[in-house]
Every structure is written in structure tokens, then in C-alpha cells.
Symmetry: C2
Subunit: 359 residues, 2 copies
């Protein structure tokens, strides 16, 4: 931590489709919300400095660290990892490692960010694999869901660790007492699903510090009252993207339907503002863009990845998330929760990512 | 096939929450749409006969086969399989086995229906495991998706068989030429996802009779132009239920939003009919209840399972589906497509369901 209440975040200025513009604009927006922020911004100073000139306040709390190199959006993580150590992404992560920043935000290549963060920051003690966590809306307002794609193959130990990390997140960042934790599965009966899910359920049932509420099905994700949803990275990614796609499909059908009928067209002209504001409400409540940043949990440092196609507002939300995770000491909470759980063998044993995981 | 164009379907009158009423009402609706249908209805004649008295035409083409026994909705498939051979579900499937009916429809216990159908009907030559298929809406109007939950663990051979069955279904029932087939995965790159998916992709790329278009992601399910989506039963079930749940969540948010604001409330009173008809449009296009029946593909006989909570209209849709599958000879097409594919070792080798699969 830096002196007083100040907090420094490292930004990868060169990641994302509209970098560096959205990064600088997003940082300016975030600074309005959190005046105690300082920034280390990594990337091409010839592009960054002119943008900073529009924001006097931001410029005053920002150091630009120049580099010509960046990770390409379609680069294989294994390549990104091995090539230069001078990419804006790598340098931004290094700043967290060195303690110059408390967290890093990037809109760049997800696989590369995870691979580099794993190697540079390493996992928290007791965590064998970091997970990608995200926020989903539900009947209890919002819940945290993990893993969303970092770990395609997971065993029961990994799922249990994800549950503990999600529990710590819900307590510290969402401020939930005794958060309910569920495993994503294809039925509510004990015998359903993959063996590793059933084994994880058995482990979580025994864990007195976790309020384990059993299995949640796909149709419960947005409709049940739950605080933490746990899945392997493959299943979590399929479910998250299916939610996004279904929402997009429905908006499209709604707007096409309102245009397709003469009577309705007339009626729509009169009530279009209603439909618009309703859809906006839904988007605000349901659209995952509202919770733009995917959070990498389980690392020695806060890492937030936002969509490559995000705009400045989306990047601002991602900075907000980094801020929240730092302020609420989520990592201390994870370590504390893990310490309460039974000692695990094999923790950290597969911390080093294999070729396959990062390819 | 029975004489002329007549077709006989076996109905399990005792499966589902509102049986046998919805079964008889549904059959009466289906008969209006397809006057060439005959029915064998299995269940408690004391309940069925009074219902049939309301429908003279249906009664004339129906034989009621009495039994006092039925499979309970919460019964373990392994128990349902072993206990009486006199349940309405078992007798209805036996009628297909004996050639007295061309297909069977049940709103009963899914696991029991699959377990009994596998044992009684056996798989088609060349198919090692039957799959549950369903219809989803998309940019190409509709697509078929399988497996939706019959097979939690699948290898590359199983996925390839599902692809061939889906292809045959799209050709024969959806009348698509050269249907496009995709594997559900977490990215579009060749190296993504589980090994069995990558191996299945390699097998499908080599298969000249399949128009394999690579991987589809969760957000593409309802938004891409594809004819056949292939997944293992775990992933397919998660994705299907997530679509259902997301649609339900959005309808709820839309209707709550329209009620939550005074200005909007007034406006809503004026335009409620618009909103209502729009939501109805969306439901008709997106709601999986429209395509109520889950189709068991890969068996020597047509088996349709509809939701336990379905109403008469839903049951009617399920009968429609059985009718379509029989009329379009989907099973002949599957056998034909399989014969074109390379000869497989190990086909039928795991046709007998294990304890785990049916529990």
C-alpha cells in the first residue's frame, strides 16, 4: 500500500480494440469516482501523452512508462509469455509484482494476461490455480461466478478452492454474511453430473466455514437466490456466453417484433420511449457489460481483464472493480478462508501452467 | 408401418404432473392436425375412459390398454428399469418394440424413459449411445441440438455419432440441404476445449458427408446460422437450461420494470397491449416450450419425452414431433448416413447402459 489512502493501479494502455483511447478516457472517468487513485500507464507515450493532455487532473496523478511493444490480441499465450518482457501487458503486471501498483487492468488478450500473471505473480498460498470470476445478476441482485474459462479441466480440489475464493469474494467485496455457495450441475440430486462435481460437493458439505447449498442448474443461474456459483472453466464459460447470447437474441427479437406490424408500428411510435427505457433497464440489470471486468482470483495481486471491444465506460467499470478488490482486501480474505479450511495436500503443486493451459 | 397412411403412436397416459388429462386432451388436439393418427393409450382405464368420452373422434381411433402400474416421477431409473414390466411407460415402449406402434410419447420420468427405451428398443446399428435432441431457435429459424443430458461423459466417437444423427435429422425432418454442423466449445480456435471435442472436430473434418463448420460458442447458439449443434449431455443440458433461465429472467425484469415507475406506469397502461404482444412474440420464437418434446435419437423406434409440467398444448406438440420423425423416416436416414461414414470399431460396444448412466 502506498501512503495514506492513495491507491495505485497499473493500466495496460495498449490492450483492446480501441486502445489507448478508451484506457485514458476510462481512467479519467474512474478518477472522478475515486479521487484517491494514481495510475501507472504502460504503452506508447507518443499515443498516450496527447490523450492525457485533455485531462489535467488525470495527468497530475499518472506516470506514463513508455514501451513500443505489446501483446497482440490473437497471439498465443505461450508465445506472448516467451517473447519480449517489454510488452505493455507484462510491464503492467511487473508493477504489481514489485509493489509499485496494487492492481492491474487490461483489455488485452485474456489467455496471455492469465499466463503472464500466473508466472509473474504466482498463486496465493494454498491456491493451486487462479480462476476467472465474474458478476451475474440474479434474484439476490448479484452473485459471483467462477471459473469462467481459465481452467478447462478441473478436479474436485480445484472446484473446492474456487468455492472458497468465491466465498471470500462474496464476504469481502459483496459484503454478504454467510454467503450461499452452489455448484453448477445438471440436476439437484446428489448422484448427478461429473464425478469431480460430486466429490467437490462432498468436500464442501464437510466444510463448516462454507454455506454450501448444493447444486444449481442452468435455469437457476439468474433466477435463484445464491451468492456464489462454482463451475469448471469450460462449463462456466459456456453458461456465461449462453446468457449473453440469449439476452442479445431476445433484444433483437423484441426490436424486430416492434417493427414488423403496421398497427404495432403506429403504437410503437407512441410508446417507443417506454420500450426503450424498459430494454435499457433490462440491459442495466442483465447485461454483463455492466460488470465488464473479469476478475482473476487466486493470484498475488489484483488482475482485471475487460472485454477487448469495450468502450471507455466499460474500462472505467473494470478500474472500479480493481479498486473494490483492493479496498476490500479480497486476497487477505481468501488466504484467511483457506487457512480455516482443512489443510490440503498438493496445493500449489500444479501452479506452473502447462503448455496446454496457456495455449 | 400400418396399412395405408395410418400411423399408430403409443402414449404413456400416466406420466407427467397432470396426467392423464393432458395426455387425452393433447391427443385430441393432435388428431385434429393429423387425422391419420391412431393411438394406443396405456394407463388406468378408470381415469382414461371418462376423459375419452368427451372426444368421439379420438375414441374411435384409440385402444386403451389398462394397467394399474406406473413409473413415479422421482423414481431412480435403475429401480424403474428393474421393477414391474407392467408400468404404463414400459408397456408403451413395448408396443414400439413389437411394431404395434411407430413411436411413443411420455411426459414421465426422463431417466427412466431413456433407461427402459435403451434396454427394450436397443440402439440403431452403428450407434453406441442414444442422445436427447431438442430444437432451439436461431438466425436460421431453428436448429437441432444434441445431446441435452442423456450422456454425461462422451468421447470423440460419441460426439461424432451425435453429429451424424443431427445431420440426418436436419436433412430429413428440417428438410435442410447440406446442413451445417458445429461443436459447442469455448472458443473458435482449433486448440480450445476438451480433448474429446478437438478429436471429434478432427474426425468431422475428415468426414466428407458432413458439412462441419467448426466450433460454436455459447453466445452463438441463438445468434449464429447453424443447423446442428453437438455437445456432450452435460454441456448441452447446462446450455439449454441457461437459455431457458435467461429468457425467464428477462421477461420478469421487463414486466417488473414496466410496473416500477409512475410515468412509465401511465405510459404502460396505454401501451401494455404492445408490450404484451411483443413479449408473446418473443416467447413464441424463443420459448423452448414451443418445441416441447425432447427427442431420443439413435434408438430402434421413435421416443419423445415432454416436460412433466406440460399442458395439453405442449403434449400435442410432442405428438406432432413424434409424427414428424415417423413420417420423415429419420431413423432410416440416420442408418443411411452412418453407412456412408467410415466404418467404426467399437460401435454398439457400450450400448448396454451402466448403473451410473441410468441412476
Amino acid at each position: 500500500m502506498t501512503q495514506s489512502n492513495a491507491m495505485t493501479l497499473a493500466l495496460d494502455a495498449m490492450g483492446g480494440d480501441s486502445a489507448p483511447d478508451i484506457v485514458i478516457d476510462g481512467a479519467a472517468l474512474a478518477l472522478k469516482a475515486h479521487p484517491e487513485l494514481n495510475f501507472l500507464i504502460f504503452g506508447d507515450e507518443k499515443q498516450i501523452n496527447p490523450l492525457l493532455n485533455s485531462y489535467a487532473k488525470l495527468k497530475a496523478v499518472t506516470s506514463v512508462i513508455h514501451t513500443d511493444e505489446k501483446v497482440e490480441s490473437d497471439e498465443k499465450p505461450s508465445i506472448a509469455l516467451r517473447k519480449s518482457k517489454q510488452t505493455s501487458m507484462r510491464l503492467a503486471i511487473d508493477a504489481v509484482k514489485d509493489g509499485r501498483a496494487q492492481g492491474v487492468v487490461s483489455a488485452g488478450n485474456t489467455g496471455a494476461l492469465m499466463a503472464i500473471a500466473k508466472i509473474v505473480l504466482r498463486t496465493l498460498p494454498g491456491i493451486s490455480r487462479p480462476a476467472i470470476a465474474g458478476i451475474i445478476p440474479n434474484r439476490k441482485r448479484i452473485a459471483v461466478m467462477l471459473d469462467l474459462g481459465a481452467n478447462v479441466e478441473c478436479n474436485a480440489n480445484h472446484l473446492t478452492e474456487f468455492a472458497i475464493m468465491g466465498d471470500a469474494f462474496a464476504r469481502s467485496v459483496l459484503h454478504r454474511d454467510n454467503p450461499s455457495v452452489a455448484l453448477l450441475n445438471i440436476g439437484s440430486e446428489e448422484m448427478k453430473g461429473h464425478e469431480e462435481i460430486r466429490d467437490a460437493a462432498a468436500m464442501l458439505r464437510k466444510n463448516k466455514d462454507i454455506n454450501f447449498s448444493g447444486y444449481i442448474e442452468g435455469n437457476g443461474l439468474l433466477n435463484d437466490e445464491i451468492d456464489v456459483v462454482v463451475a469448471d472453466g469450460f462449463t462456466g464459460n459456456i453458461a456465461l456466453k449462453t446468457m449473453e447470447g440469449t439476452a442479445r437474441f431476445i433484444y433483437k427479437v423484441v426490436s424486430e417484433s416492434a417493427k414488423s406490424n403496421i398497427l404495432r408500428k403506429t403504437c410503437a411510435m407512441l410508446s417507443y420511449p417506454l420500450l426503450r427505457s424498459t430494454v435499457k433497464d433490462v440491459k442495466e440489470k442483465a447485461d454483463p457489460r455492466r460488470y465488464n471486468g473479469a476478475m482473476f482470483l487466486g493470484l498475488n495481486g489484483i488482475v482485471i481483464k475487460t472485454h477487448g471491444g469495450t468502450d471507455a465506460v466499460g474500462f472505467k467499470y473494470a478500474i472500479d472493480e480493481a479498486y473494490e478488490l483492493v479496498v476490500n482486501n479480497v486476497n487477505d480474505k481468501i488466504v484467511e478462508e483457506l487457512a480455516k479450511s482443512e489443510p490440503k495436500e498438493a496445493a500449489n503443486s500444479d501452479a506452473a501452467p502447462s503448455e496446454r493451459e496457456v495455449s
